[in-house]
Symmetry: C2
Subunit: 390 residues, 2 copies
């Protein structure tokens, strides 16, 4: 497999990166006058002072703001609808997503529903969504305080329809953030285990995008650099969260992996994980990906051998001559980050739900299966779940 020789590149987001760069919120050209700031239902954005910083910098920039603070780790449609209604009432003309991927993804979805009638699922193009076109979206500013989703550099938003157990990624050219500020100083308070879960989410964006059949020369460039940086610096950031150099490298790798999402794509590993956390919303996305990753990448080992070896070389820095070197390096990296051996049963998944998840992965995010290195059968998908179960 080689990357496609016909491709496009268009990431319209303005990206500001660096320690302390959050202050640019006070001086950058703003796309509106009144912001809804979207944060999680947890306490950290308030406790660490990030929310106050954002409110004050916006105020310096003549932008007033209101706060919506209910977002769940696996964000749900109900909150998108509720926030969008508030947004219309309060006449907000821009949305700021502050926090992890859940808050930023919600900000994008709210930005859609603030300008479009009906239900959010009316616009979802897969699962039981109706796929109506989206022609207008409020501008979004993304301020990640975790390093993993890459949503600051891609158009995607992943929301769960809690009534239907459908967790679906969706986006268009309109849902790229207007501005993203990645300030690694906002990430030093993330605990070790979450650092690892999120970092592996970024890692799999890059690794999946690198073996996707829609990979391009530009996504390859971003992917290999993200893989290289994460292998080297994620274990450091996990062990010492206050190491700002490691935090910055991991944050940049995560943004690069978001750029992979924008130029190549996730593949079925992400569909499979979405099915898992659609049924078990307490399962962190990164933990779910780690749990299935060894069996998953083992399945494609002989389908893109050169690409596995290239990933291994980027990680280890040594010439590779067998594709399993990549899987060895992946396992080693998970061990160094203290997250090797996560099993689906650890998170309360029931064995009898696995076949249902195979179907859910196909029906809600089936498109990603078409981007796999080769088509997987349902038996193979079930086999990956089962090998990752206990």
């Amino acid at each position: 497999m080689t990357s496609n020789s016909i491709f496009s590149l268009h990431i319209p987001t303005r990206i500001l990166f660096g320690c302390g760069e959050i202050k640019k919120l006070a001086t950058e050209k703003m796309p509106g006058k009144k912001a809804m700031i979207v944060i999680s239902g947890g306490t950290s954005m308030k406790k660490y002072g990030y929310l106050d910083k954002v409110i004050n910098y916006l105020k310096e920039n003549n932008v007033e703001s209101i706060v919506f603070d209910k977002i769940l780790p696996n964000p749900i449609k109900q909150h998108v609808m509720e926030a969008a209604q508030l947004c219309r009432q309060e006449k907000c003309d821009m949305i700021v997503g502050l926090g992890g991927g859940s808050s930023i993804d919600s900000a994008k979805a709210i930005a859609i529903m603030a300008c479009n009638e009906g239900d959010y699922w009316d616009y979802i193009p897969s699962g039981s969504g109706k796929g109506y076109p989206v022609n207008k979206v409020l501008p979004v500013i993304a301020i990640p305080t975790t390093a993993g989703t890459g949503t600051e550099a891609d158009p995607w938003t992943v929301i769960t329809n809690e009534e239907l157990n459908e967790k679906i990624g969706f986006g268009s050219q309109l849902t790229y953030p207007y501005l993203s500020i990645i300030d690694p100083e906002l990430m030093i308070s993330i605990p070790p285990q979450l650092t690892a879960y999120q970092g592996f989410d970024a890692f799999f964006h890059a690794a999946e995008g690198f073996i996707a059949n829609c990979a391009t020369p530009v996504s390859d460039l971003y992917a290999i650099e993200a893989i290289r940086l994460l292998y080297k610096y994620l274990p450091v950031a996990v062990k010492d969260g206050r190491n700002l150099k490691a935090r910055a490298k991991v944050a940049w790798a995560s943004t690069l992996a978001g750029m992979v999402e924008s130029t190549s794509s996730c593949i079925s590993e992400h569909s499979m994980e979405h099915a898992m956390s659609a049924y078990y919303p307490q399962l962190p996305h990164g933990a779910g990906l780690i749990a299935i990753s060894e069996a998953y990448f083992e399945t494609f080992r002989n389908d893109c051998m050169k690409r596995y070896m290239k990933m291994s070389e980027a990680m280890v820095g040594l010439k590779s001559n067998r594709p399993s070197d990549f899987i060895d390096a992946l396992v080693r990296m998970q061990k160094e980050c203290g997250v090797y051996g996560i099993k689906l049963s650890d998170w309360g998944l029931k064995a009898e739900d696995l076949p249902k998840m195979v179907q859910n992965a196909r029906s809600t995010m089936g498109g990603l299966f078409t981007l796999d290195p080769r088509p997987l059968t349902d038996e193979e998908v079930l086999d990956i779940y089962q090998k990752s179960y206990k």
Copy 2:
């Protein structure tokens, strides 16, 4: 030297790349209804049918067009002003630059003057320009038929004020092309020597941007890949212009090097060459750069040793342990492309003009000297010219 840890990334241009992609001109969303197509005063755009293709695809897309066909290899202000006036008369609402960097750069400058009063030099922020702000620009579509300038992926336009002997690069966030289509099939007719000149222009965009003191992690990524690709494929494209794989690799490297221009910068090597071709417009830009390159990079050899070794490693594929490996590889690459040993005297430059060119380089493009790995003295600049003279 390491790259800056605070940086930004914002390339708003939509880039389409690939053999045959010119046809997308018929289907992409257009930013206007009437185009001025800007081409050179030469015959090739007509002879090879590229102009007809562009006119016809635009027509399919409901865009009518007029043609301005006077651009010189070193494009001059007079033509910018003349075309901009025609553009207003004809009520064109978009500009298509078709051809080499001269045509695309002119398209950008015409797009400025179609919306702004007075003289083009009123807006130039250096030399004897007045530096007035530019607030509006017509949308530009860039269709390169050469691989070198990278102007399809950066905001810069380099125009010569023929009365003042000032050749100055200028641009802003507004002068990024709206859309760029890089179709390597349009490049197969470039003769070997021009292929080499243009390819080395791209090479120096990447190499200068890599050792610039404003280099960033993202410009580094683009630069090293451009350097790697050009070392490997430029000699192939020079020797066999019909080798589409080599043409495509060189074209993509040139676009990547344009992205380096957008995320890092050229340094004083470009200022020095602009001074040369401001006085000797018959000197091709790439040939001028090649002529001074060995002495130029020799001058900084001990100022960014690690970066020279990294460039060498990207070129040769072997571990480097001395910075001169880069200069050796550069010389070898020039020999393989049949352009080693170009001297300024070969192009009719007069020895007594060299001190004047030192001053011109400083006064017209002095800003780039501040981005050098270390400050150069006037004596050193003169020394580079003299070593490259005969």
